[in-house]
Symmetry: C2
Subunit: 324 residues, 2 copies
């Protein structure tokens, strides 16, 4: 299963979206335009715009407002990725050098701000105030979530509750907003909009837990990133949280001393992986993700069957089985 | 003349603003809240909120909407200053360590995003769509202006026109928006709003040219920053643009070679200052600033006399004579 098959019911709409998106990204300033075109080249699976469109399709059909919502979401998502790469000092993004690697932090911070304000102005121009509210809320939650993560991770002491709160803010918020915006572009039925918002929230949570699991189990050839990188970065995720909770005091001490080692290279991620596996941390995280995926499915159970619903259900499966 | 005397006609309103602003800045997350409280400590002369209030006063009076506009502007301004300090690698801000110096770039980029979205949500909650439009436009222009500056400065080849375009986007845009928002909070008379927008634009341009001049002539004890720092940073401003335009080819070559020297310390700013002075660059920039200040005054000439108008006119004088 690949993502194109999953979102096949909006394949034509995605092509239209891409054309429109390209036009919106065009800028007068030559450097801004150049970086914008590079942002397009770096583009990923465009899963958020696809979710906007599938949600609209489920609620009545794709309209002009749906495309505007998709453009808005993708602009915001691109802006936050650029800032994330600055924040993480990332050198690569989807197989290409990151914006900060090519144009330094200065241009990157400013390009993020530019794309953010570009997205806001685009929605303001069209009086899409409902979208604006959802998206500003998501931006606030994403920055708060990242800050909470840095804050908690530093102390090597994060509870499952805090972890879920972090990934809800950091990842699920924009996915949830995307689905709500898509629904909002097709219907004014508050119950339907809320149902898709929930679907997005649960799917986003399941997605992030699976993503964090891949750091322990993923094939680096498929994921395109080195295994154990979160461990080296001292990002404490669900598998480790569970394992630490179920470890003896001396085991906890051992793991903490590994994670605290000051140099990245010195962190023995293989030992941490072995510990987490033996304590059942991987199985537990997989189980939590399964539960959330189930709730995503339940969220949209009252909608009638059809191509959009099939796609959204397959998207849940896709998130659960992906190895990359 | 100090700034408190200039804005005396809204002194009480500024106190109310500060109380309201503090409440808006409060955050649930303890680290976000801590950094927010530090942002308050670092606060400058709050000239933008004062301008919002003076503009409202001139157009009929300060209302709840005026405070909201002032809060919005100050949130956005704080957000862009935090990102600016990351972009410039600045270690100090108004006599205190910068946010990036205390909490690193990671937290700083995210705090900027947080304050930006906080400001947007605040306006959305109150359905202040007019403010939102003005302010998003300003954010877009600020990021574009900074990028244009980096782009042009790198080539050491910036025309007076490009320079004016950079400072208009980078500095005048938010001052101009502040005045327009203040006016908008008190009247729906489009002519009055446009007049204050112009006033802010001209004042902002004059302010930035004076600021750039202080790099050549300022007393570092008063300005709190080292003289010639723009020269060392290879920021080409109006005095130097004029001087280069009126120099022989060999003089141009000499100055270019000084500016191009790769190590900051090696840049002999005293030689550049002497060159610019001898070519009349300082006198020229002062003259351009005077002309713009005159246009700021003309922009509000049709308003009746009164305390608000007196304050706005004194603000022009303040910008023109300040030595810090």
């Amino acid at each position: 299963m690949n993502i194109k098959d999953v979102t096949a019911s909006v394949a034509d709409e995605i092509v239209v979206f891409q054309q429109k998106y390209k036009l919106v990204l065009h800028a007068r300033n030559t450097l801004v335009d150049k970086v914008s075109r590079y942002v397009l080249k770096q583009q990923g699976k465009q899963i958020r715009p696809a979710m906007v469109m599938l949600s609209a399709q489920l609620c009545g059909g794709v309209s002009d407002a749906t495309y505007r919502a998709a453009i808005m979401v993708e602009l915001l998502h691109s802006a936050t990725l650029i800032h994330d790469d600055v924040v993480d000092g990332a050198e690569m993004r989807r197989g290409l050098p990151s914006i900060n690697a090519l144009w330094k932090n200065k241009i990157s911070v400013l390009m993020g701000d530019y794309l953010l304000s570009r997205g806001l102005l685009y929605s303001l121009e069209h009086k899409d105030y409902g979208f604006l509210h959802l998206v500003s809320e998501a931006v606030r939650r994403m920055s708060e979530g990242e800050i909470l993560q840095i804050q908690k991770t530093r102390s090597l002491d994060i509870s499952e509750e805090d972890y879920l709160s972090v990934i809800s803010d950091k990842t699920a918020s924009l996915i949830s907003s995307s689905c709500a915006m898509g629904a909002m572009s097709a219907t004014s039925d508050e119950e339907k909009i809320a149902a898709l918002k929930s679907y997005g929230e649960y799917l986003g949570l399941a997605f992030q837990i699976r993503d964090d699991l891949l750091d322990y189990t993923g094939d680096s050839k498929k994921t395109g990133k080195q295994m154990g990188i979160d461990i080296k970065d001292k990002k404490i995720t669900l598998p480790l949280i569970f394992a630490l909770r179920n470890a003896s005091l001396s085991e906890q001490k051992m793991i903490r001393s590994i994670l605290k080692s000051s140099r990245k290279r010195a962190v023995k991620s293989s030992e941490v992986i072995a510990f987490v596996t033996s304590k059942g941390g991987l199985a537990y995280a997989a189980e939590v993700a399964e539960g959330l995926a189930g709730q995503a499915v339940t969220s949209i159970s009252s909608f009638p069957d059809g191509p959009a619903k099939t796609s959204l259900l397959r998207l849940v499966d896709f998130v659960m089985i992906r190895q990359y």
